[in-house]
């Protein structure tokens, strides 16, 4: 396992070019091309703003709501799109795994990384929103921002490896996953703040839900004033994510030899 993990570093050129290919191929043939990376989050944001400001007005008063929403939706989109793509990545890349000597773990990681690029491309828009609403975050807080991104990356990568491996054996996961992710989205303080009145009974759940800590971190860093209270939680999550990634990688590695036969 350690040997394979070390080998992964050697494959960075491959990962790089596959991510680039993924991004290039994604919008090939569409009129707006790469702009979709910017437009997609905007449209999503508009929909959620309209729904939760007009049809289902939120109980707590958070202003500006769209900005708050953006802080959580952008990382969530990265997370959920990564997992959706990663879960089918081995099956979709069957011809690579079956026909050429190819490090299988590259495929789910490419899913995560290419969606991370979309996330990073959404950041300038988020920055634009922050400026527009005159909501400049603390410079000290901004230092922590990349840390949170890396923690999310490690956590997502672990989950992506595990899902990719298991989906080759149980194709059912592909269908289940989208529903689980929908539920997970609503059960995470993204469209509402975690401390909204009336949510007291669910605080334990929030604590155990790893994505809460990521979402709340982004919100605290970028949206809310005041100290970064989530810091210790998210660092704990970071430490656990590393362990989690190693476990997931171990499972993936154990099943490696069967991918070529089952995909």
């Amino acid at each position: 396992m350690w040997h394979n993990l070390a080998r992964l570093v050697r494959y960075r050129g491959l990962i790089q070019s596959l991510v680039a290919r993924e991004l290039k191929a994604r919008y090939r043939g569409s009129v707006l091309g790469f702009f979709w990376s910017f437009i997609n989050p905007l449209i999503l944001l508009t929909i959620y703003s309209v729904v939760f400001a007009t049809f289902l007005p939120n109980r707590s008063v958070i202003e500006p709501y769209a900005l708050f929403l953006f802080c959580g939706i952008l990382p969530w989109t990265w997370f959920s799109a990564s997992l959706n793509e990663a879960s089918t990545s081995l099956v979709a890349g069957a011809n690579l795994i079956r026909k050429v000597m190819f490090p299988a773990e590259v495929l789910p990681l490419v899913s995560v990384l290419s969606n991370m690029v979309h996330f990073l491309l959404g950041l300038p828009i988020l920055a634009g929103f922050l400026l527009y609403f005159e909501h400049t975050p603390d410079l000290a807080d901004l230092f922590w921002f990349p840390v949170v991104v890396v923690i999310q990356l490690v956590f997502t990568a672990g989950l992506a490896l595990l899902l990719a491996a298991l989906t080759t054996f149980f194709r059912d996961i592909r269908d289940l996953l989208s529903h689980i992710l929908t539920f997970w989205f609503f059960a995470t303080p993204i469209i509402y703040p975690w401390n909204q009145p009336g949510l007291e009974p669910y605080q334990t759940w929030f604590k155990w839900n790893p994505f809460t800590h990521l979402a709340v971190s982004y919100q605290e860093l970028l949206f809310f004033d005041g100290p970064f209270g989530q810091l210790r939680w998210v660092l704990l999550l970071g430490a656990l994510s590393i362990v989690w990634f190693l476990i997931a990688y171990w499972v993936f590695d154990r099943l490696r030899d069967s991918y070529a036969e089952v995909v």
Partner: protein, 446 residues
């Protein structure tokens, strides 16, 4: 063990390799549920069925040699190649390979249809283990080799399958591996491209690289390889000089074909004659030659009880060589004597095209009487047909054609030939040249 393994360092070495494929067909949702609920994941990952693709195969390929692997479909050739390529792991035994391997197994496997040929060359090259800089250096050579200079900026999805394969081949061959694995990929292009590939293989060999070649083109093995390995049903049947191994293999294939055709014939013979010919399938109605579908029919006063094709020694055969003498033997039984009768035969190609048909009436043989058991022989001096599968019709009928017993397309035989000419009939002929023309005979390609 290979006879050559003592002489040189092996580039590829398989020792006691067994590969068992598992099948997971019967897994359903219920097993996912039980896997999650009863924590039986490990147990459920066990296969439902197994298939042994290779069993206890050992061979070694010395550095710098070219070895051909031959065998029937499903004999484990491709599995052996995949094991050497490291795509799958052996169930037991060891596979050792020295040096960088490039596998021409699935050409262009990593191509993405939406992006350009240029970008695909880069990514494919990197996948095969080159660095970006190395691809850059070889880029022009790759594109020229693939003859795709004009199309290299187009997305690969616009390529024809031939272009696709050519580009895949070009990238794979320019990886410049120490060990090249080739799986039946010479069918990638037109004649000219095939020649270019063969030249490239030859160049490879000159530079002391090792090649393992899986192919059905036996002539290629004989011409290119230093050694051949014959796999049969997952076992190594023979290994050694290409000529010897190929002869053993061809002999075995012929025997098997003979058995197969004999089995098909004996089932055809079991059917009792129907009173009417079977209806002609609608689609073939337009083809004049296929008057009727295969089958057996007739009124029954005379019955054909046995049909055999005999070789020169009087042995029944189903496979023969071009130019062999053959005898068609028809045994008939006539319980009540008849006087109005004629015997007929016809030979058709596999597609139903009539090659030759005759009967005793046409050939002005006067029928007098027929009763009890009788035997009819049609002796053919030399079967001048090109290589292929042929169908035989035999019939007994009245002089004006009402069938007593008609066997339509029920008997099959194969003609083999060293020369792969086309059509059906191969007249005895020779080429004669004079004036300013020089032509030599080429060595036998089989």
């Amino acid at each position: 063990m290979s006879a050559t393994s003592g002489r040189a360092t092996p580039a590829i070495e398989l020792a006691g390799v067994t590969k068992i494929y598992r099948r997971y067909d019967r897994r359903h949702f219920s097993t996912l549920k039980s896997a999650l609920l009863q924590r039986s994941l490990a147990r459920d990952l066990r296969p439902d069925e197994t298939f042994t693709a290779l069993s206890d195969v050992s061979f070694s390929v010395p550095v710098g040699s070219t070895v051909g692997v031959i065998g029937r479909n499903g004999s484990g050739k491709s599995t052996a190649l995949k094991l050497v390529a490291g795509i799958t792991k052996p169930t037991s035994g060891t596979v050792a390979v020295r040096g960088r391997v490039s596998a021409l197994i699935e050409l262009g496997a990593g191509f993405h249809p939406e992006i350009s040929g240029r970008e695909n060359v880069y990514i494919n090259g990197i996948m095969l283990g080159l660095t970006k800089r190395q691809v850059e250096e070889r880029f022009d050579a790759i594109v020229d080799f693939a003859e795709l200079r004009d199309f290299i900026e187009e997305p690969v999805k616009t390529y024809s399958s031939g272009m696709y394969m050519r580009l895949g081949f070009a990238v794979a061959i320019h990886v410049d591996p120490d060990v090249l694995l080739v799986d039946e990929v010479l069918a990638v292009g037109d004649e000219a491209f095939t020649h270019k590939c063969l030249d490239k293989f030859a160049e490879f060999k000159r530079r002391g690289r090792t090649t393992l070649l899986v192919t059905h083109t036996l002539g290629l093995v004989e011409r290119f390889c230093d050694e051949a390995i014959w796999l049969d049903a997952g076992r190594k049947r023979a290994e050694g000089l290409p000529k010897r191994v190929i002869d053993a293999y061809v002999g075995d294939v012929q025997k098997q074909e003979e058995r197969f055709l004999a089995a098909a014939d004996s089932t055809a013979r079991q059917e009792p004659p129907a009173p009417e010919p079977p209806p002609v399938p609608a689609a073939s109605g337009s083809v004049e030659t296929s008057k009727s579908a295969e089958g057996r029919w007739g009124s029954g006063p005379v019955q054909i009880v046995d049909v055999a094709i005999l070789n020169r020694d009087g042995q029944p055969v189903h496979v023969c060589q071009y130019g062999d003498a053959l005898t068609i033997r028809i045994a008939v039984r006539t319980p009540k004597p008849v006087e109005d009768f004629a015997f007929g035969i016809a030979i058709s190609g596999a597609d139903g095209q009539l090659v030759f048909g005759t009967n005793t009436e046409i050939e002005r043989l006067e029928a007098v009487s027929l009763s009890g058991d009788a035997e009819v022989r049609v002796e053919i001096d030399a079967i001048d047909l090109v290589e292929g599968t042929y169908k035989l019709d035999v019939a007994v009928h009245t002089r004006d054609g009402a069938p007593y017993d008609y066997h339509r397309l029920l008997h099959t035989f194969r003609v083999k030939s060293a020369i792969k000419d086309v059509g059906l009939y191969r007249p005895r002929h020779r080429w004669v040249f004079s004036g300013g023309v020089t032509i030599h005979a080429r060595p036998d390609d089989r």
